[in-house]
């Protein structure tokens, strides 16, 4: 039977014990956790409730990370339903982190590969719940079997996708308070001030090598076509050296360049793999 995280924002106080439970159970060291407590209205704007959501990997029925992975580094555990990443097969291209809407897979600088929640598969095998769900001090985060009929269902509280995340979230029931507006002065502080927007996961600064690679590849392709048509005299040396630079840029983007050969393994599903094989482009 598939399983899911159960989360009750009415019980969560944002204590982050779940994050530490994950770090400890999975031996991630003190500076890293696969779980993150996200706070809504973190600025505590008056009149708007403040609450939390504890998120890790939702081990989706249709895992975008697994489908997008060019290196076939992801697998689904048949017993637990966990979507597992094999670090030995990961090339560190970060493509899965772009595909996942929950921010679950994260690039780990030290190892050069992605890391993410395993559903504590090793504990499930022992008949235990994941460490985060076991150690939540308020009972806000729990773990339970899910009826198979519910697989792939939309989860209230999360954006509508076709992924079928294995998490269920209780509706927020914060009291409607009679003291709202007790300090009318407060409200004015927030009028006209935009709420902070989350920082984008992908920026030109973080992905400059990929942007340069894409630009050079397009340039080379155009030059090749123009040369073939006889419209442009093309120096083979210049072409080859530019192509080498482009290839170098594309490799430098990988956490594990030596495993670059794996990038073409998932032609069936990953657009990145299809891009690797020029024949597929046609």
């Amino acid at each position: 039977m598939p399983a899911a995280f159960l989360f009750d924002p009415n019980r969560c106080t944002g204590c982050q014990a779940c994050e530490l439970a994950c770090s400890i159970e999975n031996d991630l060291g003190p500076d890293r956790s696969w779980r993150e407590v996200v706070t809504f209205n973190d600025a505590s704007a008056p009149g708007i409730p403040r609450f939390h959501l504890s998120l890790a990997c939702n081990h989706c029925a249709e895992p975008a990370c697994m489908y997008s992975c060019p290196a076939l580094a992801y697998d689904r555990d048949a017993t637990s339903g966990a979507v597992l990443l094999d670090p030995a097969r990961c090339i560190g291209c970060r493509y899965c982190s772009w595909a996942c809407p929950y921010g679950a897979p994260r690039f780990e600088e030290e190892s050069g590969v992605m890391g993410k929640c395993t559903f504590c598969s090793h504990r499930l095998g022992e008949g235990l719940k994941p460490a985060c769900a076991t150690l939540c001090p308020t009972g806000a985060l729990d773990f339970a079997d899910l009826p198979a009929s519910e697989l792939g269902a939309h989860v209230e509280g999360l954006p509508r996708t076709a992924l079928g995340p294995s998490i269920r979230i209780e509706p927020v029931r914060r009291p409607v308070r009679r003291d709202a507006g007790a300090d009318p002065g407060d409200e004015s502080e927030f009028l006209g001030r935009p709420l902070p927007t989350p920082s984008p996961g992908i920026t030109l600064r973080s992905e400059w090598s990929l942007a340069a690679f894409t630009f050079l590849t397009a340039l080379l392709f155009a030059a090749f076509v123009a040369a073939t048509a006889g419209a442009l005299p093309l120096s083979p040396v210049l072409f080859a050296s530019t192509a080498t630079v482009a290839a170098g840029l594309s490799l430098s983007h990988l956490g594990r360049p030596a495993r670059a050969w794996r990038a073409g393994l998932n032609i069936r599903r990953s657009w990145l793999s299809r891009e690797v094989w020029p024949g597929e482009r046609a």
């Binding site: 106080t13 022992e126 150690l135």
Partner: protein
């Protein structure tokens, strides 16, 4: 060496993992029961012990971070001696103990033994903590402190009113129909109380939070009152007056079990809602709404925090709040009562707090109990016949955690020699001539009580101390012969070094109590004999009148305050100086979920989740002063200053600034540079929050 008796092979692992019962001994409400998984001398997992019904779901993030704390790279593992250039160097135990013995012998000869200050904080709990004073008595005596930094004003107010500090089991609050969380942020400081409160709310009960700050706890509140700091007493009196006017008094209960209702009622009758609204800066309608709920809802539980009673008027404040329970008959009944301090597990104390922390009426001439914890620095400097020459500090970090840090530093620096026992180089340890490495809770067995739930628990040794770390009892044992103390004199007072000797020592302490033994405690938390699930259910109050006392002659005799809890402004109040205040902002120094005072903040696991030190300033106050978000600001008053980045925060009441307490000076400064060395109106507590400051861009 593998310690303990419970061996459970964990499936899937080749090496057997031992799973041992222990408990967290921090100065914290929750005092969680724990099950610790140990493999090859390393702590792998920490889980809640289901036998502790108050903390069954999980230990907090601090409890989990012990995994890092025990093996932190910053931990002190050998004695450290300060060399002439000011740096610390490792020293052998023999040299360290010889050095201490030389200094102790010298000051005993020149000034007498009372020129030694023994300062013990609340950093860890346990019966073996008493070993220190046992040694110093044999040494010839010492000087030590009275009072307490934490909670004595509220304890004394409770003792005067109800006769004793005990309350119902933590889960009883789930039966309340109305909960007043007064000056407490349980979501951060007593997280295990929140599920019970949530249970009460799900059953239709209402939660009211009274706090100047918007906190994680106010988010769940049906009503949130934000009084001006220190004005809670006025609010309580007006609520009582309004409840009486609304006919909310339980006449039968008051007639049979309350003394002084007429006198108190007359006072409350004079305290109008408008009067309190003006003083506390709370809308009158909110006070009326709350009074209406109190008058009409039974049962009601009031769960009060310790921050609210760290003012110079706060013993009286707590007496006024307690009166709300008394007049409505909300004592001794399920779902009702006063949740402040539950000392039912303190069965090993001959005299219970707060009286245990008062200076004795007749000093014994050996241990001089003459330094007020609240005035630590000033009183240390003022000691005469003999003056203080040396200090021994353990389980505490007085440089950052006692009020008036500048004077505390001056006092410590005026001594000839300082010994500090600690796990880390705290700001106090950095002032020491000699730092001795301290054990953690996992490295020696002890028995602990609690002050929220009623359990007696075993804090069991699960690993050996790392490096050259020795428990304090061993340090004393090694020091004794160097001071000319015959080791036979230590027997029965300080256990020997082996685990068996410690166990035998503790077993003897448990002996007199039915149902308590090491074997029983190894299984899990145990209830002390005579435990009351519903406190005061027999409606038998150990006060002079045998009733709940709303008037108290002892309050007059002992503390020179009004016999009824009349409202007075705290010492440092903007209303006392009406617009002429040089330092017009209240400095609030609350606790955070990420630390217990100055502990845990140095760990990387905690740093990863903590936003870092900052001064929270209301946007209106910041605008007036031209303070930008993130700018470095100077927080100051006549006593001192510290500098931290500003964080604009509209969750504060305007006129208040807030910095969580416990930051180290090394991290940007302790809030106590600005707090006064001043006692609360009763109980010899520290009036930390009676502090006005000004803030400006640095």
């Amino acid at each position: 060496m593998m310690v303990g008796s419970e061996l459970e092979p964990v499936p899937g692992d080749s090496a057997p993992m031992s799973v041992l019962t222990t408990a967290c001994p921090r100065n914290c409400y929750s005092t969680c029961g724990m099950r610790v998984h140990v493999e090859n001398g390393t702590i792998r997992r920490i889980e809640p012990h289901p036998g502790n019904r108050a903390t069954p779901e999980g230990v907090c993030l601090k409890g989990l971070s012990y995994v890092e704390r025990v093996r932190s790279a910053d931990r002190i593992l050998t004695p450290l001696h300060r060399n002439p250039s000011g740096a610390f160097e490792a020293l052998s135990w023999d040299s360290a103990l010889d050095l201490i013995a030389d200094q102790l012998t010298r000051i005993r000869q020149t000034h007498g033994p009372q020129s030694l200050l023994y300062y013990a904080g609340s950093g860890t709990k346990g019966l073996l903590n008493r070993a220190g004073l046992e040694l110093w008595r044999l040494y010839g005596g010492c000087t030590t402190t009275y009072g307490d930094l934490c909670w004595p004003a509220g304890l004394e107010a409770t003792r005067l009113t109800l006769g004793d500090n005990r309350h119902s089991v933590p889960w009883d609050i789930a039966r309340a129909r109305l909960i007043l969380m007064w000056g407490k942020n349980a979501a951060e400081t007593n997280i295990h109380q929140m599920p019970f409160i949530q249970e009460a709310r799900e059953a239709g009960g209402r939660l009211v939070v009274i706090d100047p700050r918007r906190t994680e706890s106010t988010e769940s509140a049906d009503l949130w009152l934000r009084p001006r700091p220190g004005s809670d007493g006025a609010l309580a009196l007006a609520l009582a007056g309004e409840v009486i006017r609304l006919g909310g008094v339980d006449e039968t209960f008051v007639r049979e079990h309350v003394a002084g209702f007429d006198e108190f009622g007359a006072l409350a009758g004079e305290c109008s809602v408008e009067w309190a609204s003006e003083i506390a800066e709370v809308p009158a309608q909110q006070i009326r709404d709350l009074a209406g709920w109190i008058a009409s809802t039974r049962p009601m539980t009031i769960t009060a925090g310790y921050g609210m009673q760290r003012y110079t008027n706060s013993g009286q404040t707590v007496r006024a709040i307690l009166a709300l329970l008394a007049i409505t008959g909300n004592v001794g009944r399920p779902g009702a009562g006063w949740v402040y301090a539950n000392l039912q597990s303190h069965v090993f104390d001959d005299v219970r707090d707060p009286v245990a922390c008062y200076p004795p009426a007749r000093p014994d001439g050996v241990v001089r109990i003459s330094v007020s914890t609240a005035r630590l620095g000033r009183d240390m400097l003022d000691q005469k016949d003999p003056p203080l020459r040396m200090a021994w500090v353990e389980r505490g970090n007085p440089v950052t955690q006692n009020p008036d840090t500048n004077v505390v530093l001056e006092a410590f620096r005026s001594l000839d020699f300082r010994v500090v026992v600690d796990q880390f180089l705290t700001d106090t340890a950095r002032e020491a001539d000699l730092v001795l490495p301290a054990k953690t809770m996992f490295e020696q067995t002890d028995v602990i009580g609690a002050y929220w739930h009623p359990y007696v628990q075993l804090r069991q040794k699960v690993i050996d101390p790392p490096g050259e770390v020795k428990p304090e009892t061993e340090i004393y044992r090694l020091l004794a012969p160097r001071l000319g103390i015959d080791s036979s004199l230590l027997d029965g007072k300080i256990p020997g070094p082996s685990a068996g000797q410690v166990d035998a020592f503790l077993e003897a302490k448990l002996g007199p109590f039915d149902g308590l033994s090491l074997e029983r405690l190894r299984q899990g938390p145990a209830l002390p004999p005579g435990h009351e699930e519903i406190a005061f259910a027999a409606l038998d109050f150990p006060t002079p009148s045998g009733r709940i006392e709303l008037v108290s002659d002892e309050a007059v005799e002992r503390w020179s305050v009004d016999r009824i809890p009349r409202y007075t402004e705290p010492e440092e109040s903007v209303r006392r100086v009406q617009g002429r205040a040089e330092h017009p902002l209240y400095l609030m120094t609350p606790n955070t979920k990420n630390r217990i005072h100055s502990q845990f903040g140095n760990l990387r696991m905690i740093r990863r989740v903590d936003p870092g030190p900052a001064v929270h300033v209301h946007p209106a106050d910041a605008r007036q002063r031209g303070i930008a978000s993130g700018a470095l600001v100077r927080v100051f008053n006549g006593r001192g200053e510290f500098r931290l980045p500003a964080r604009l925060d509209s969750t504060l009441k305007p006129g208040c600034v807030s910095v969580t307490n416990g930051w180290w000076i090394q991290e940007g400064g302790t809030v106590n540079f600005c707090s006064p060395g001043r006692e609360t109106d009763m109980g010899h507590g520290a009036a930390f929050h009676d502090t006005l400051v000004e803030v400006e861009t640095a």
